[in-house]
């Protein structure tokens, strides 16, 4: 599997596993890079394990730290103050 590494920067320096992991996780990887990384994980156990863990954490953060609702009276309060501006 000797496809060119699409993570290679303009400097020609190859990205480390860690840099690839981050680009993938942060949603900063192109389709081509994602495809490359999927294949890379078959050959690199640390990336495979780390990616699994990262995704789990990201999903947990989303499910545990979102979903708060703004207190209802706040929207009304903001509207009242808006009316006094105009």
């Amino acid at each position: 599997m000797n496809r060119p590494n699409p993570f290679t920067g303009s400097s020609g320096k190859k990205s480390t596993c860690l840099e690839m992991l981050h680009a993938i996780l942060d949603g900063d990887a192109s389709e081509e890079q994602q495809e490359y990384f999927r294949e890379h994980m078959d050959e690199c156990m640390p990336c495979y394990k780390s990616h699994e863990l990262d995704i789990q954490i990201k999903q947990l953060i989303k499910s545990k730290c979102c979903g708060t609702h703004v207190p209802l009276d706040l929207v009304e309060k903001i509207r009242r103050q808006m009316n006094s501006i105009t």
Binding site: L18, S50, I61, C65, V70, M82
Partner: protein
């Protein structure tokens, strides 16, 4: 500010922009404010200030631009100006250290954390939320923007007024710190590190 070209909105249009472009983000904004201040009343004040400010400058907002990123930026700046100044404590983030992160020999250690997926699955309580809240506010912020709100590097750079490279390295440091916190919880829960 008077010099900049502005959209001419009628009063009715202003309210429409406010309702359609700004208000849909209010729960995210409140969550962001709450996680920055760790206080419900402060969060309410921050959200209110942000929305009133956005309304006051609504004519500088052009339809079709990213309202959410603009609102997050206003809220973050209000937080820095109104809340952070009150605490005399300087930011704990060592930017020098952040920038040299990739040059360290520590990369292999970073990738092989002792945290395991199995231990995460048992974290059903507030461990995740507490771990996030315990991070320094600069680190907390980038995790919220990326993982909760899905902002991209360039959007985060605009919201935070920092270069994209700094966004990237700060985010990665934040993730590692979060993993460290979670490892501590995992250990307390009886998961032995290998």
């Amino acid at each position: 500010m008077e010099e900049t070209p502005r959209a001419k909105y009628t009063e009715k249009e202003k309210v429409e922009v406010f309702n359609n472009e700004f208000l849909p983000h209010i729960n995210s904004m409140y969550n962001f404010g709450h996680r920055l201040t760790l206080d419900e009343d402060d969060a309410k004040d921050l959200v209110q200030d942000t929305y009133l400010k956005a309304f006051r400058f609504i004519e500088s907002f052009q339809k079709g631009t990213n309202a959410k990123a603009w609102l997050f930026r206003i809220l973050k700046n209000s937080f820095i100006n109104d809340y952070r100044k009150k605490s005399k404590e300087p930011s704990k983030v060592d930017y020098q250290e952040v920038e040299s992160y990739y040059n360290s020999d520590d990369v292999h250690h970073q990738i092989t954390t002792d945290l395991r997926v199995e231990s995460l699955q048992d974290m059903i309580g507030d461990e995740i939320s507490n771990a996030l809240n315990s991070l320094d506010v600069d680190f907390r912020t980038v995790i919220i923007l990326c993982d909760l709100e899905g902002f991209k590097y360039d959007e985060m750079a605009k919201i935070l007024d920092i270069p994209i490279g700094t966004v990237r390295s700060r985010l990665h440091r934040a993730r590692n710190l979060l993993k460290d916190k979670l490892s501590v919880y995992a250990e307390k829960m009886g998961y032995k590190n290998p």
